[in-house]
Symmetry: C2
Subunit: 614 residues, 2 copies
């Protein structure tokens, strides 16, 4: 993000929206809709034009089209068309060889209905009166915007979009597309968005609209007729916006050191502090390129967007869809929080649609989805997701875990892990499976290779989540210590927790959650009563061997030490039914037969569990 | 917090400031300063009057005076004077029998310099012109406000305040008082405040001022002369304020369920959503009771407040003080974050002044310090702190830990803990001591009883922190897993970690931090190679005995298992010097003599450590 204290005039790309000047855009095409648009909230627009740009080529099957949706104040210019072109608002993501590769995909981006960058909006001429609509422009919704986009893809001869994607309000569109037209979208990417605005985000919008509409120059929206512009109100709205787009930490980094060194920008706003000169500059500049009635219209469309306030409503909304989903939030985004993304993910999971989720670790706030800082994460997620949608995932040979490498050290020199083999054998090929702590997806891939179709992973590590997505696996990021709140009761035939139990603080809660979500659960863990471990403590030392227990007492990820006997007792006490057990000596690469003392001889135990029926 | 969707007219008390109507206040007294006020930023005010109220009686020694400082838009009416009086902004805290007990303390609250509730401000008459100052009122600072307050206590014959306290901008005053007048304040309570505003908080203030000052009715601040009021701008400023005073969660609780059911409040602002009707109502009401120039003046004073941007600057500022400190933040306060309080605490600790700190778990946001929700925590902290300041702590008999009860179960029936006795013996009476994981202060009290004067605790549990403060101990709340960032190198002679090592994830980091902060460190931990524990694993079960190791494998707070031999090896590997060791069998209540195998016989080990000198 460029910094006004460095170079205010050059800050061409530093917000949730494009911030170019209102220069006419080359490459913009305009579609005149051949039918009036009947609006969701009543009224109709007799003549509608849609401004759009496209990138790359539509293939012969017309199945490589990606619709990119812009946020509050963006436009159709998502990316540069050629090196001499002006910057686009998503150049970091869209272009030849980039994550949304225009050498492979046909990318479409249109200006929103109600906008002021080519598509019909309040500043357009009302064919009924011959004057601009101004405040008489009807209330439009995100649904109306999608209706205009749908007619656009009709005109391009596209039966089904490969993918629709967007961040913030662009995410609202990407979410609603599959709800309105389930058979016309194969996949959807939602970035930094929510099923409806939080009350806090809504409050900021309301104050912004109050600032615009109560500006005396607004004149009830008829400022054009009077030759005026509600410039103060619009600038105030933009300033509020800018604060909410940045994280607290990003603002600190940007302005703390130079607090008392404002730039002398040529604006009327307060310039006592550097952050003030930045906001004043951004606010004033926005007035030059954006129309106040458009701002009010579009922000109201965003505020009215609501596909569900409760889990039940949200599930009902997503039940109308039949898509593949990628949901991405950013850890420092406080305008559209990770929690709100998780609410959507929970609803999506409950409908059984394939979904992946990642909360990208970021310091950039809501703006993160427009900034290069975290493109290594969210760009790769989108790239992998698109490849998966278009069936072009490169089938890499199954790799051993590298993020969860402790689980593979049990098996030096082995191509396949014995415990993974055994777990696959314990699960019927027709079953649905949730793998908790799935790492980079070794078990999930083994299951898929064997024929299980409905498999999903849960993983905390961001790198592993990205790896899974890039390998075509569905995985959601969450911390097992927080439970399985994303999953419904009895959602899977099997829930597996492979060699992870010993690193969970709330073991009882985790197992309770597994038994809630799965009909049966498979748990594997290292046996602390393995003869070599017993011997070590007997001789006065904290047990430490190879593999999972190779760590020192002070740096081990393992914080729970249990024996097979302890686990049996635990199941008895908690009224958990044990269906099967498998005991392995993984060092010797053998199963422990029933006649041997498994608690002494096995270094790894696998249990198949379920709730006891009353 | 009352809810506008329930009863907008009755919402008498729901913000960081008093929200009463501008009715004349009974009980307000006015002091005319007998000398002009020379201002920090230049200029002088020839005639200044200070409006104030007092509660309770000044005692004969005049040493029971408590100065209460109000925030941005408050006034002198901190509390009701009698049952028929109008509500005060801190009635929950100040009054007979309350935490700031007006039966014991003489409470003073004055309206700020620059305010509009009785004290000289922009709306006062400039004696030079005979007209109101308006925009010609000079820039005032928090320091100027304190100067006015200082003259007030002079006039009351008070040599030294027992305590000065305040939240938000009131906290700025409570912080600056001891810096300006170190010998006139014995103690200071800082609530929900910071050493200077974050760039984010500053940005909100700037946008608010822009809204006011760019309102056409502001007329460069001369609106009174023109008979106008910049009502839109002032209301917008207030709306922004209200959003920042509430936590995200509080807004959700307040408005999410009734989103589309706004109240039909008689204001011109948007009322499409319930949160909008609330903000509109609050904004409009504020205009009736507050002056725009005052708002600009006071918020600028707050924004200019800066006692240190770096740790070094902050330490230098606090080095001018000689006070006892209580710092309180609220977990959901995003306007003045807990991190900012911790920065102050770190600086205070580095100066060696006695300080306690608690981050009160709260959902209420910045407003929390004005709301009854968490009064059970912050009220008790203030009450205990005041009792300590006035020497009226009731000496309760030493109690056994109740929050860290696991550490006492070792010693059923014993009045004193053997390990605590031994640790006290290991520490010279003249030493300064930091006790990590101090619980309710058993070791700290034992040390104080024995004569150690400079002792301090660190504890995570809020209830234990409150107990410590109420018993006159200095304790700061922090999570040992986050290290000892609040403490400087070599700050204490001894740092003790008693029976806590085994529940810390990052053991190595914790010991490194202890060795950085203390010249010597004392670590005690349960010995996992104790003969009874060895035997249990030998027989195939996870070790579990009485005392610290009485937990089951799946619910134990203990996540590190080490033996005396392991710890010796750890010290050797990490180049840590062992000065002394004490080994106990606490079940039998005896020391293990050197001729016995301590790794086999001791259930508890105590080590005295230091860094190896090169």
């Amino acid at each position: 993000m460029s910094d006004v204290t460095e170079n205010p005039q050059g800050a061409a790309f530093d917000s949730s929206d494009s911030v170019r000047s209102a220069e006419p855009l080359r490459h913009v095409r305009v579609l005149e809709l051949d039918e009036p648009l009947v609006l969701e909230r009543g009224g109709r627009l007799e003549r509608v034009q849609v401004a759009y740009e496209t990138y790359g080529r539509l293939n012969e099957n017309k199945d490589n089209a990606v619709m990119v949706c812009h946020a509050l104040s963006g436009d159709s210019h998502a990316a540069m068309h050629d090196p001499g072109d002006s910057a686009g608002w998503w150049d970091i993501l869209v272009g030849p060889g980039k994550s949304v590769d225009t050498d492979r995909y046909f990318v479409i981006c249109s200006n929103l209905l109600g906008g002021c960058r080519g598509t019909t909006g309040p500043d357009s001429t009302d064919p009924g009166t011959g004057k601009c609509y101004g405040p008489d422009f009807p209330t439009v919704t995100i649904g109306d915007m999608i209706e205009a986009q749908r007619r656009l893809i009709d005109s391009l001869g596209i039966e089904q979009l490969l993918c629709v994607m967007g961040g913030s309000m662009g995410g609202h569109q990407a979410m609603l597309w599959p709800m309105m037209y389930p058979d016309r979208v194969r996949g959807s990417v939602l970035l930094a968005t929510s099923a409806r605005l939080s009350s806090q985000a809504l409050a900021f919008d309301i104050v912004s609209r109050n600032a615009i509409m109560q500006d005396p120059n607004f004149m009830g929206g008829r400022y054009r007729h009077a030759g005026k512009v509600p410039d103060i109100g619009l600038a105030i709205a933009r300033m509020i916006g800018h604060i909410t787009y940045l994280s607290r930490e990003a603002m600190e980094r940007k302005f703390d050191a130079t607090r008392m060194q404002p730039r002398d920008v040529p604006v009327r706003f307060e310039k006592e502090f550097s952050v003030g000169s930045y906001l004043g500059y951004q606010g004033a500049r926005f007035v030059d390129r954006f129309d106040a009635n458009s701002y009010v219209t579009i922000s109201m469309a965003m505020d009215l967007f609501d596909v569900g306030a409760t889990p039940e409503e949200l599930t009902a909304s997503f039940q109308r869809t039949d898509s593949r989903w990628m949901v991405i939030s950013f850890s420092s985004d406080w305008l559209f929080s990770p929690q709100e993304s998780q609410d959507m993910v929970r609803a999506l999971i409950s409908t059984g649609q394939p979904v992946s989720y990642c909360d990208v670790e970021s310091k950039a706030g809501h703006d993160a989805f427009l900034l290069p800082e975290n493109i290594g994460s969210y760009g790769r997620l989108i790239e992998g997701f698109l490849a998966n949608l278009s069936g072009t995932i490169e089938q890499a040979p199954p790799v051993l875990e590298h993020h969860h490498s402790q689980t593979s050290i049990f098996y030096p020199g082995r191509a396949q892990r014995l415990d993974v083999e055994r777990i696959v054998e314990l699960i019927p090929p027709s079953s649905s499976v949730l793998d908790l702590g799935c790492g980079t997806g070794l078990l999930l891939e083994s299951l898929k290779d064997r024929g299980n179709r409905n498999v999903m992973g849960v993983e905390l590590d961001e790198g592993s989540v990205i790896d899974c997505v890039c390998r075509g696996l569905d995985v959601v990021q969450c911390d097992l210590n927080d439970g399985l709140a994303l999953f419904a009761d009895n959602q899977f035939d099997y829930v597996a927790l492979s060699q992870t139990l010993q690193s969970i603080m709330d073991v009882e809660g985790a197992i309770r959650e597994m038994l809630r979500v799965g009909h049966q659960c498979i748990v594997s863990f290292p046996n602390f009563a393995y003869h070599k471990l017993r011997k070590m403590l007997w001789e006065g030392r904290a047990p430490q061997v190879r593999g999972l227990l190779r760590y020192k007492w002070y740096n081990s990820p393992n914080i729970r030490f249990l024996t097979i006997a302890d686990f049996r007792e635990f199941c008895r006490e908690k009224d958990i039914r044990i269906h099967r057990c498998v005991f392995l000596d993984t060092e010797e690469g053998r199963d422990i037969p029933p006649e041997e003392d498994s608690n002494l001889r096995a270094d790894l135990a696998i249990f198949v569990l379920s709730r006891s029926e009353p």
